[in-house]
Symmetry: C2
Subunit: 399 residues, 2 copies
C-alpha cells in the first residue's frame, strides 16, 4: 500500500537522524556531548516551573487563540519592545514555532506556490513546506559575506508569478547571522514592490552579541500592516525547548482570522504549557540579557577554539547559538556518523549536525557542520579538543 | 494583500464560534452551562497531575517519536487490550488526536485527493483536510438507523480513482454510535478490495455503554497490516483535553517512517505533557470502566430528559459522551445564539453546538444540535429544564 508522494519527499532531519548512532554510543558507555540540537543547558526560569509544582485542578482545553493569561503576558513583553500598538487579536498562540510556521505557510500560499528562503536554513522549513505541497526556493548566502543577504538585484529574479512570500530567520539558525536594518529595509521594500508577504522567524530575537541592535519586524508592522508576519517561539528565549509554544503575530486581520480558524480545527495548544509559560510576565529584559551574555561567552570560546584547529573554517556568529563550521573532510555527514560510531577521546565524543540538510542546492554544505554551542565553557573546550583529536585521527581527513 | 485560497475555505468551528456570545453572557452575570465542547468535568487521574507537582529539572525537547517512558506506558496499555504484537516503532506520539489526524492524512493522500468520511462528523476533519488541499467526501448516515453505516453497495460508488482512504470514528463524535463488528469487517473488506487505507479515530474507545463490545482496529492490524491506521488521543480517555497528546498507530513501516520524518520537522510533542501522561501506566482498565459508568449514568439522564420535551427528537447514544438532538426550530444555530444572547432561566443558560457544521451536504443538520453530556446529573437536569423553557419561549419555536 503506497504512502503519499509528499510523504516520500519529506527528508529526515539532519539534526535528529543520527540519534540512533548516539544512542548506540551511549549504550557502549561513551559520553556524547550534544551539540547537534538547539537545547541549551541553561535553566528554565523558575517562575515557569514553579507553576507546575503549584498545580491545582485539571487539564481542560485552552481557548483556540491561546490562554488569556498567556496572551496578556505576551502583550506586555511585545509592548516592552516598543510594539505598543499590538492587541490581543494580533497574537495567535501556536504549538511551538513550528506550528507558527506551518500556519503562516498555509495562510499565505496554496499547493504549488513558492516561498523564497535564504540558504542555509533551518531544515524544517523545507520539510513542512513539502508536507503542504509548497516549494521552498533557496537564495544562497555565503560564509565569505558572513551569510549576509545578497544584493536585492541578485535574487529578485527568483520571484516568479508563483512566489507568495519571503522567509527570513533573524537572528539566523544555523549561521548566527544578525541582519542589519538596511537588509530588512530592502526586504520590506521588495515585498511591497512585488506584492509578497514577508515572514520573519525571530525566535532568537534577544540573542544578539557585541552590543549590536536587533532589527525585529516589530518596528515595521505599523508601516506595512498587511504584508508582514512574525513567527516566534518561547523555546529559545526561555531556555525551554520542550515547552511547545510559539506565536504568529500580524496586523493582517484576514490572516489572523484565518489562523484562528485553523487553530480551532486543532482545538488548542497545551494547557499546562500555557499556564507555566504565563510566568514569563515575571522575566525581565535584564534576565534575558544575562542569558544572552552567557551565550556570548560561549560563542567566544567556540570561535577562538575552532579557529585554532588546522583546516577548520569558521565565521564569527553575531547572534543565536549556532555556527557553521567548515571541516577538512569530504563528507561531513560521514564524519559526524564516524564520531558517534568509531571515535571517542577519554570516553567522550561529540554529536554535530551535518550541514548538507540545511541547503536545498545540491552539493552545498557537504563539508560543513552546524555547531550548537548549548553547553558550558568546560564542556565546549572538551568538545573542541575532541574535534581536534578526531580530525587528526579520521582516516578520511584532508589534513 | 490576499491570503491563500485554502485559508479562505477553512470554516470556523461550530463548537467554538459562539464563544464570544458566551463570554458576553458571562459578563452580564448569566451562568453558562457548557455542553458545546467535549471537556468532561471528570477529574484527571492524580497520578498524572502529581507528576507536575513533583516537577524537577528543566523542559528539554523530547524525542520526535515520543518520550520513551510514555511510549512504554502506551505499549503496556495497548497490549492490555490484546495487541501483544505492537512494538515501539508502531507508535508515533502526536500533539493531540488532531496532529495524528493531520499526519495520517498527509501520509495517505496528496493535494487534490479524497477521503470518505461518514457524516455527520467531527468538523476538524474537514477543516484540516482543506488546509492540506484534500477533499472530504461525505457518506451520509441517518438518525433513523441510529447513524449506523449504510450498506456498502450504497456508498462504494463514491470511491473514485482519487479516493485514498476511509475515515471511521468509533465510537462516534457527534452521534454516540458504536459500530458493530460486522460493520468494521465490511469496511476492512472494502479497503482491501478497493486499494484504500482505513483510518480509525478511536479516541472514545473505552466509552461504550450497556455492556456492549468495542470493535477496535487493534484486533485487525495483524491481518491487514499495511492498510490500517489507528488515530488515538489521551484527552478523552483520561479526562484531560488540554493535555495535547495523541498517537498514530500502524504496522505499515513506510507510513510510520514517514510520520516520524514529519515529527522530526516539528521537533517534538510537549515534554511536560508527556512526562505527566506517562502516569497512565498506573491507570487500570477498572479505573477507565468507572469513568465509563459515570458517562453512562449521564447518558441515561439526558436521554430520558430530552425525550420528554415536546418536539425534540433524540437517538439513544451507544458510546462517547455526545448525542445529536433534533429541535423544533428552523435554524438550530440561530437558536443556539439566542440561548446565549437573549435567554436565561433562573440566571443560567446552555451553550450547545449547532450541527450544520458537522455535515458537508448542504441543508443537513440545520434543526439539530450536538449535546455533550460533560457535566454531572444535577447540572444536566438543570440544562434539560432550561432547554424545555427556552423552546417554550423561543419566538421561532415550532411548538
Amino acid at each position: 500500500m503506497n504512502i503519499s508522494r509528499r510523504l516520500n519527499q519529506v527528508p529526515a532531519s539532519p539534526i535528529r537522524k543520527l540519534v540512533p548512532l548516539a544512542d548506540a554510543a551511549k549504550k557502549r558507555g561513551t559520553h556524547v556531548i550534544h551539540l547537534n540540537i538547539g537545547d541549551p543547558d541553561i535553566e528554565t526560569p523558575r517562575v515557569m516551573t514553579d507553576r507546575l509544582r503549584q498545580w491545582q485542578g485539571g487539564i481542560p482545553y485552552a481557548h483556540s487563540q491561546g490562554d488569556a493569561e498567556l496572551i496578556a503576558a505576551l502583550l506586555k513583553y511585545y509592548r516592552g519592545l516598543g510594539a505598543d500598538y499590538l492587541k490581543a487579536e494580533n497574537i495567535q498562540v501556536t504549538v511551538g514555532g513550528s506550528e507558527a510556521l506551518t500556519m503562516a505557510m498555509a495562510a499565505v500560499a496554496d499547493p504549488g506556490e513558492e516561498i523564497l528562503v535564504f540558504e542555509p536554513f533551518f531544515p524544517s522549513y523545507h520539510s513542512l513546506a513539502v508536507v503542504q505541497g509548497l516549494k521552498v526556493v533557496p537564495v544562497t548566502t555565503s560564509i565569505a559575506d558572513g551569510f549576509h543577504l545578497p544584493k536585492l538585484e541578485q535574487f529578485e529574479a527568483l520571484v516568479t508569478p508563483k512566489t507568495r512570500a519571503i522567509l527570513l530567520t533573524n537572528p539566523n539558525n544555523p549561521t548566527g547571522t544578525v541582519y542589519r536594518r538596511e537588509e530588512v529595509d530592502g526586504l520590506v521594500e521588495l515585498v511591497r514592490r512585488k506584492g509578497l508577504f514577508l515572514l520573519a522567524d525571530e525566535v532568537y530575537r534577544e540573542i544578539v552579541f557585541d552590543g549590536q541592535p536587533s532589527t525585529s519586524l516589530l518596528s515595521y508592522l505599523k508601516v506595512e500592516p498587511d504584508r508582514l508576519v512574525i513567527l516566534d517561539s518561547l523555546s529559545k528565549r526561555y531556555s525551554a525547548p520542550g515547552l511547545r509554544l510559539g506565536m504568529m503575530v500580524s496586523l493582517n486581520q484576514d490572516l489572523m482570522a484565518g489562523g484562528l480558524r485553523i487553530a480551532m480545527a486543532r482545538l488548542s495548544a497545551g494547557y499546562i504549557d500555557q499556564k507555566a509559560a504565563a510566568g514569563l510576565s515575571q522575566v525581565s529584559q535584564a534576565d534575558l540579557a544575562a542569558v544572552r551574555d552567557e551565550h556570548q561567552r560561549r560563542r567566544d570560546v567556540v570561535f577562538a577554539g575552532l579557529k585554532s584547529i588546522k583546516g577548520v573554517t569558521i565565521h564569527q556568529p553575531e547572534g543565536a547559538f549556532y555556527c557553521v563550521v567548515g571541516l577538512p573532510v569530504a563528507e561531513a555527514e560521514r564524519f559526524c556518523a564516524w564520531l558517534l560510531s568509531d571515535f571517542s577521546y577519554h570516553g567522550a565524543t561529540v554529536m554535530l549536525a551535518p550541514m548538507a540538510g540545511f541547503y536545498l542546492t545540491p552539493g552545498l554544505g557537504k563539508q560543513e557542520v552546524r555547531w550548537a554551542y548549548v553547553v558550558g565553557e568546560t564542556k565546549l573546550k572538551q568538545a573542541i579538543e575532541i574535534i581536534g583529536k578526531a580530525l587528526a585521527t579520521y582516516p578520511e581527513s584532508r589534513y
